[in-house]
Symmetry: C2
Subunit: 369 residues, 2 copies
């Protein structure tokens, strides 16, 4: 059942009230998408939706987007601007109309040029970064959100199965990445959730490695694949690490440690747990192992419309996870110059515990190639 | 031939000098990529490369990226930070080390949370938006840049040919989009340059329409496809509008007007022309037609590592285009509720004139379906 725009904007007005600021501003991105249920991009054109704590919302819209904006069903004031005229007059009109003195923005989405345009239009406007509070509204997923994410995950796992079945010694990381990407789209992806990581051998030790044209996978390599698809606005984010042809004792021991860390994070997961507690459970396993000096990352992050969103699963983050949160459980161990292992599941927090939305096997896998 | 990092950073030091600021800061994005020749993403983690007008550069790097950062060959000071510790200490270390009082940033790339972190570390730091000056360094394309862009364009055109050959009446816009996307990857795309626009009938009148699940293309529709691929870091951006089964006299007249505008923009293109002059040449054709009230956009924008970059091809922008600039020539006419037409080429500015990198036919096309 589609919800009304007013219903979807109301929580942002509450965020403004809670923060004791006059309004919340959204720019195109995941929160904007959640609020208006239509996808807009911004590029070099400022685009702004302002939801006051009290009173009607207002928008600043590039003129060429007005036809698309009509679909949103917005009945507040709209300040549009054309490329030839620039946007300063529209910002001046918007701020005059709103008559506010403080504004909460999404610090990880809004870019500096929009911040500058707001300050130019109203130099005494106080702008605070409320990324956490604004994006927290996306943390509890609806059934429809979870269904979209499950579809993204299912198609991603089908693509990974097919890719691993096609891996041969001597292929470059880049070739394997291209197979994976093509299969993701064949399986129905709307888009990639992010540039996949396909990293073998020493490349697997770099958590955010890029696939190399000039590295051909060889017997004994760890092959780490971290990838995701976007489907109906939601992301999957999955990592599996397999070994090619054979695995050393060191590889086996590292893999086993990472898997135990992943399972320890899952074991403490239920509604009411804190992000800190999950990271602590997983990271403690890594720390107690002989490979403690190979820890380089936190355990995970929230997943939804964005591939990285709240809650960030790390020690010191005492945010409580409610039922309906989806997070990635992705402990890893990385030794630069040697190899790395990461195992990443997408996990739905439930009242009683958790449900892993990822179902791809996690047993140590040695591909015969 | 690979160039050294010092060689690639020097122009940013010159930008700082020219602007009379102490340094330029780059964050992951197209300028960062150009400077370090490796792709990094940022998400929720600040990542900063600071190039002073005089003296060595310094960087603020998320700890988990250090393994990838090693590949860059950077020999300046690096301030890294771990998720569990937060990034404020690293910003404090960086600003203390740099000892600068003013900093030029990319206003369309840097996000507000990084701006805030800089101001928190050094409240008296003056931050100016130098997006235009910093990104202008990407405007003149090298031979390697153009070769990558040509590869992106060629594969995109092959995918469009195959897609149009498969269009059937009754397919949804979304189905056509999915065919196109799959064929782009089959033809070798690394990624989509942006979410494609596949819009028929009244949808074609929205310049940034999204493909609809619930609109099936029908005889007489205009079908507008605006799409692009990414290859080796560079983008294509192409639009063609075709008619399905038959075309009305109005459709024919509008198409003819847009095509004449496209050609008029090309006709004035050569090194030394201004962005204003190209837009003026194209838009004057539209204005002189019976469809002047359907103008909604400027003529185009630069194309390269980003799908929208300088120079913006619009009246009032008197920036001179040097040889080596690549821009999109994409006039259009849009009547909300009726239909729209856009024709978009990717154009390389040369000393003597221009070369269209796109070669897909522009004659009025009526698909038999």
């Amino acid at each position: 059942m589609a919800t009304s725009l007013a219903y979807r904007l109301a929580p942002y007005a509450s965020v403004a009230s809670d923060l004791d600021v006059d309004a919340v501003a959204l720019v195109p991105g995941p929160n904007f998408m959640r609020a208006v249920q239509h996808s807009f991009s911004s590029h070099e054109r400022p685009f702004l939706l302002v939801i006051p704590a009290h009173g009607p919302a207002a928008a600043l819209v590039p003129n060429l987007e007005l036809g698309s904006w009509d679909l949103v069903g917005f009945d507040g004031a709209v300040f549009d601007w054309r490329d030839q005229d620039g946007y300063n007059a529209a910002f001046a009109g918007l701020t005059k109309h709103l008559s506010i003195s403080s504004l909460a923005v999404e610090g990880q989405v809004m870019r500096v040029f929009v911040h500058h345009a707001l300050k130019t239009a109203q130099p005494d406007l106080t702008i605070i970064d409320a990324e956490r509070e604004i994006s927290a509204l996306r943390m509890i997923k609806t059934k429809a959100d979870i269904a979209a994410m499950q579809a993204a995950i299912d198609l991603s796992e089908r693509a990974l199965s097919r890719t691993l079945a096609s891996v041969k010694l001597g292929q470059s990381e880049k070739q394997i990445e291209q197979m994976l990407v093509q299969m993701l789209f064949e399986e129905g992806a709307d888009d990639l959730a992010f540039d996949p990581i396909v990293a073998a051998g020493d490349g697997s030790a770099r958590p955010h490695a890029k696939a190399r044209q000039d590295y051909n996978v060889k017997a004994g390599d760890a092959l780490l694949i971290d990838y995701g698809a976007r489907k109906d606005g939601f992301c999957s984010d999955i990592t599996r690490t397999v070994f090619l042809d054979h695995v050393t004792d060191e590889g086996r021991a590292v893999y086993d440690t990472v898997l135990r860390a992943n399972l320890a994070g899952l074991a403490v997961t239920r509604a009411g747990v804190t992000a800190h507690e999950i990271d602590d459970a997983a990271t403690s396993v890594l720390e107690a192992s002989p490979f403690a000096d190979r820890i380089r990352t936190k355990t995970g992050h929230g997943l939804g419309r964005e591939v990285h969103e709240a809650p960030y699963i790390m020690r010191g983050n005492h945010m409580i996870l409610p039922a309906g949160t989806v997070y990635t459980n992705e402990p890893g161990l990385y030794e630069i110059g040697n190899f790395g292992v990461r195992i990443e599941d997408d996990v739905l927090v439930t009242e009683d515990g958790y449900e892993t939305l990822t179902h791809f096997p996690k047993d140590l896998t040695v591909l015969p190639c």
